[in-house]
């Protein structure tokens, strides 16, 4: 049977099911297939904090959204074009996000009375499809017994009915892979490896996957196959990568590029634990991972390792930062290199462990006693976590300071194609250990004596020397008490304290001298409105700005990698625009800093719902500001809508 093939420039698919249905794996495999095919893509996993939330209920729904296109895209998409719903709860929980006309593929098997009740349906929404008044009337619904067909397809392997039914996610993946012309080899070899030790499960999954594909090809339920051509990308070798993986690789790379052994002290916490898992695999690089007894011990061990000459790293999420605050202050006082990685999640307190947020910026900036400046670096996309980790290490090692790296749950678990860098292109970081005494003093007998002073400073960076144990003649003591300028002995002298407080701040400020100029995206150079952001809002802000420009209006965008210190040219850039909009997944933390430092009227666009900002709503806000700034009427619908218009 020949099928119609339809060209599309982009598609957003959401796989949704029970948290035990394997939706994350299904989404991840579809993503890998799309990446290998050459589409640009962005993903958004979304799952409950419970490992197995009550089966069949709304809180137990887990989903994975993938947006793939034949052009450069920036977000996982606002609204899915296709929903795959494995049970009534998955249908109900996601229906509200679907635009009119969206396609829904439903596994009818679980639409039993009991499951419908659990999901809160009084009547089966699949009854009377096509009738006027059907609750799903606005959508194109494909009811398919995915589970039943899976069980039938794998019966030769003699699995229990429960185990056989488990392969239904692979059946669904096979069907969707057919619909969108995905290459299937990588998934087959993935399944072969993953279930190498259990032959019947392996074979059942592969069989279900192929059966799903074949079902698409033969059934009359699906008459159209879609084609989304590869996206043009700059030359290079690519892989799909999540933020946590890229961040882990960045830390390994920082160790190689600095010649320092990496020492991770960490306590498991969502959504940062995957970095601990990943780094524990890389002992061949000299990476030590200590799963500590608590958050404080994790950072404590990292500080100890740094004192001993390693690159000390601690990874956590917001609640962990709160616990580590005193120790981070110790690293500020002792001026030791330390990477503190905060994969932000919804807060306060335990908050929303599996959801994303950017509300730890002010904690990173100010969350310590005393004047305790800590440089802050933030990645803007999953792949960018690699470069951000190396940059954070550069600052920590060069300036002998703790550095806060602010990732978030969206970056951590989301993925995108990443151009694999050449090792020769990575920066080399020189730890410049102290090896000689550095100060001549006059002894009591009038003779000159050479001493080691741990708090003398490099003129350019204001960094102190880093002498590690084992270096003869440089024995010294550091600690949390105030240090005397230069010699580093305990000092309670008022003038010295004032000097040291200012010097520690000046050292962090000095980092700005090493930063490249900001890149402002202002294609026409005539925009009156600037949108400024940091971290994972890069995608939605970029997509929002594109919408506004596509509709014929001007807007500029700048995105900050360095939150402390700010780049030197930021103040001048802010002054160039009449209006400054600052979208954040918090209640206005960057805008508070911008207002405080530059006296600029930064206007907040704030959303704290645990999900990434949607480009469409943000574009409306930008449009409103453009109208105000330019005294014109802005109508974003007047031009053809292309949410992710090509550049």
């Amino acid at each position: 049977m020949s099928k119609q093939v339809k060209q599309l420039d982009r598609v957003i698919i959401r796989f949704a099911g029970d948290s035990g249905d394997g939706m994350q794996l299904t989404g991840d495999r579809f993503t890998q297939e799309s990446a290998v095919f050459g589409n640009d893509l962005v993903t958004l996993p979304n799952f409950p904090a419970e490992i197995r939330a009550p089966q069949g209920t709304l809180p137990g729904v887990s989903s994975f959204q993938v947006h793939f296109a034949d052009h450069d895209i920036l977000t996982a998409g606002d609204a899915p074009d296709v929903l795959v719903a494995m049970n009534p709860a998955a249908l109900k929980a996601n229906l509200g996000d679907l635009p009119k006309g969206a396609a829904i593929i439903v596994d009818t098997h679980d639409f039993t009375g009991r499951n419908l009740t659990k999901a809160g349906y009084d009547a089966n929404p699949l009854d009377g499809l096509g009738d006027a008044g059907s609750p799903l009337g606005e959508f194109s619904v494909h009811p398919v017994d995915l589970t039943g067909m899976t069980v039938e397809a794998v019966k030769e392997f003699g699995l229990s009915r429960k185990d056989a039914a488990r392969a239904k996610n692979m059946f669904a993946l096979g069907l969707l892979s057919w619909m969108y012309g995905r290459p299937i080899e990588s998934t087959i070899s993935f399944l072969q490896k993953r279930f190498a030790k259990v032959a019947d499960i392996r074979d059942a999954n592969i069989t279900a996957f192929k059966a799903g594909w074949n079902f698409g090809e033969t059934t009359e339920t699906f008459v159209v196959q879609y084609e989304i051509k590869p996206a043009p990308m700059s030359a290079g070798t690519y892989r799909n990568i999540t933020g946590n993986l890229a961040l882990s690789y960045g830390l390994v790379a920082a160790g190689v590029q600095s010649g320092l052994p990496v020492f991770l002290g960490s306590y498991p916490i969502t959504p940062a634990s995957d970095i601990l898992h990943e780094l524990s695999k890389h002992k061949a690089f000299g990476v030590t991972t200590l799963q500590a007894e608590d958050e404080i011990a994790g950072v404590g061990a990292a500080i100890g390792a740094s004192f001993a000459g390693s690159l000390g790293v601690t990874t956590t999420s917001g609640p962990g930062i709160a616990l580590k605050s005193e120790a981070i202050g110790l690293a500020v006082m002792t001026e030791l290199p330390l990477l503190v990685i905060d994969v932000q999640r919804g807060g306060p307190s335990t908050g929303l462990p599996t959801k994303t947020e950017q509300a730890d910026l002010l904690q990173a900036m100010f969350g310590r006693n005393g004047e305790a400046p800590v440089p802050i670096v933030a990645p803007q996309s999953p792949g960018d976590c690699f470069d951000a980790a190396i940059e954070a290490a550069r600052i920590a090692i060069t300036y002998r300071t703790p550095v806060m790296l602010l990732s978030d749950g969206y970056l951590a678990n989301g993925s995108e194609p990443w151009r694999i860098p050449e090792i020769d292109d990575l920066p080399v970081i020189d730890p410049k250990f102290a090896t000689e005494r550095n100060q001549t003093v006059t002894a009591k007998d009038g003779s000159d004596v050479e001493e080691y002073w741990p708090y003398l400073r490099d003129e350019e960076t204001l960094a102190r020397p880093w002498a590690i144990p084992g270096t003869p003649g440089l024995e010294h003591r550091i600690g949390g008490l105030e240090k005397g300028d230069g010699h580093g002995n305990i000092s309670y002298d008022p003038a010295n304290h004032d000097l040291m407080v200012r010097t520690r701040q000046a050292k962090v400020d000095r980092i700005a001298e090493s930063l490249p100029p900001l890149v402002v995206d202002d294609p026409s150079g005539e925009a009156k409105v600037l949108v400024i952001g940091w971290g994972s809002t890069y995608g939605p802000i970029g997509a929002g700005c594109r919408r506004v420009r596509k509709a014929g209006y001007q807007v500029a965008q700048v995105h900050l990698r360095h939150l402390n210190p700010f780049p030197k040219d930021l103040g001048e850039i802010l002054k160039r625009y009449d209006k400054v909009l600052c979208p954040e997944m918090n209640l206005g933390q960057l805008s508070l800093l911008l207002r405080g430092k530059y006296l600029v009227d930064a206007i907040g666009y704030n959303q704290v719902n645990g999900m990434p900002i949607k480009a469409a709503s943000l574009a409306e806000a930008i449009g409103g500001l453009v109208a105000e700034a330019e005294g014109i009427t802005v109508d974003l619908t007047s031009s053809p809508i292309a949410e992710e218009a090509s550049k």
Binding site: A297, A308, S310, H476, R477
Partner: protein, 371 residues
């Protein structure tokens, strides 16, 4: 030059057991206590027991024969935690209670360092209790000196987690309500592989215990009874006073019967009723117990039950009686050696330069090439 010490293993009870300082470079020149004395003025209160311990450590470190630059002292917060400033080695005066975690990082990162933790009863047993028990559990190669004066000194006289119940202090005008920790029992419960107790004023005993602790591979914890003349003066008088100490100190020496009292008239025997140990009169008279019944101290017993039973003879109230010496000294794999061994074997199995391996790592997985 760096050489590996072998001499320090000679005095160990187990032939073939690695010393705690085996991988630390040694110094072939004689050292003096003066070399270990920093130029900082010591600022403890006059009469403080800390002075005696500092002198003993400054006197004992040269005997270890290690290179001074390979010794690191880490402390937390409290009077005793100023200790590192007065020793001319590498050192860190860190934050309250966290010294064992910092020392864990140092000891795991570097096999060539002799790592010491100086802490107090508040630092180690209150705010830092968690790190202490986990250091002992992991058996990281470090020596912890726990100065126990049974009071908070630096914050001016509140009761501590080792203060006797009912203690009248500034924060407990009607008497403290908390039951105290017995640090030795706690350390044994945390499966410490080297657990000892000594007294600040007995330099000879202190030095011998420190030597054994340094030589032990794994976490050694030494509780040091230390008098605070300002806020808890006389807390250890019964075991320091020449008139009473014979009856107050129960000396523990590996391989010897546990006898004490004037003329060794008292001894420890198993108590079949409680499963623990009890104190008896030793002798041939009626009501006395024969010498052959007296327990012979076995610090090397893999089972800590007896060591724990002996630790319970410590008074929890005012200290009129306490076992002193090495309670337990057993061989157990150390965390840091294990961590380094995993890295070493992984490195051996990985071909190529670090840059080549990094390229392979980040270039792995499903890739595609755009030309």
């Amino acid at each position: 030059m760096t050489t590996t010490s072998t001499s320090s293993t000679e005095n160990l009870p187990f032939p073939g057991l690695r010393s705690g300082v085996e991988l630390v470079p040694t110094n072939d020149q004689p050292q003096t206590s003066k070399e270990y004395t920093s130029d900082q003025e010591v600022r403890w209160c006059p009469g403080c027991g800390d002075y005696a311990v500092l002198k003993a450590v400054q006197g004992f470190l040269p005997e270890l024969g290690l290179r001074r630059e390979n010794i690191v002292f880490v402390s937390g917060i409290g009077c005793s935690s100023r200790f590192p400033y007065y020793l001319d080695t590498y050192g860190m005066h860190s934050i309250h209670g966290r010294a064992p975690s910092i020392a864990t990082g140092i000891a795991t990162a570097r096999e060539d360092l002799s790592v010491w933790v100086v802490t107090g009863d508040g630092d180690a047993l209150s705010i830092g209790g968690n790190h202490l028990i986990h250091a002992l559990r992991r058996n990281v190669n470090m020596t912890i000196l726990l100065f126990n004066n049974r009071i908070y000194g630096l914050t001016k006289g509140q009761y501590s987690p080792t203060s006797e119940a009912g203690k009248i202090t500034k924060s407990t005008p009607m008497g403290s309500l908390d039951h105290p920790f017995n640090p030795v029992s706690l350390a044994l419960g945390a499966e410490g592989s080297f657990v000892a107790r000594t007294i600040d004023s007995d330099r000879k005993h202190l030095t011998s215990v420190l030597s054994a602790a340094a030589a032990h591979r794994g976490t050694s914890i030494v509780e040091i009874y230390q008098n605070c003349p300002i806020f808890n003066d006389g807390a250890f008088d019964a075991i320091k006073n020449n008139d009473t100490k014979a009856d107050a100190i129960i000396p523990l020496v590996h391989g010897e019967p546990i006898r004490f009292g004037v003329g060794g008239g008292k001894g420890l025997v198993r108590d079949s009723e409680t499963g623990g140990v009890k104190i008896v009169e030793v002798g041939a008279e009626p009501g006395q117990v024969g010498e052959d019944q007296v327990l012979v101290h076995d610090a090397h017993n893999p089972d800590p039950t007896m060591a724990f039973a002996i630790s319970r003879l410590t008074d929890s109230g005012y200290l009129n009686q306490s076992p002193i010496g090495i309670f337990r000294q057993v061989e157990r794999p150390t965390y840091d050696d294990g961590a380094r061994a995993q890295i070493a074997s992984s490195r051996e199995a990985a071909p190529g330069t670090p840059s080549e391996r990094l390229a392979n790592l980040i270039g792995g997985g499903d890739t595609w090439t755009v030309v």
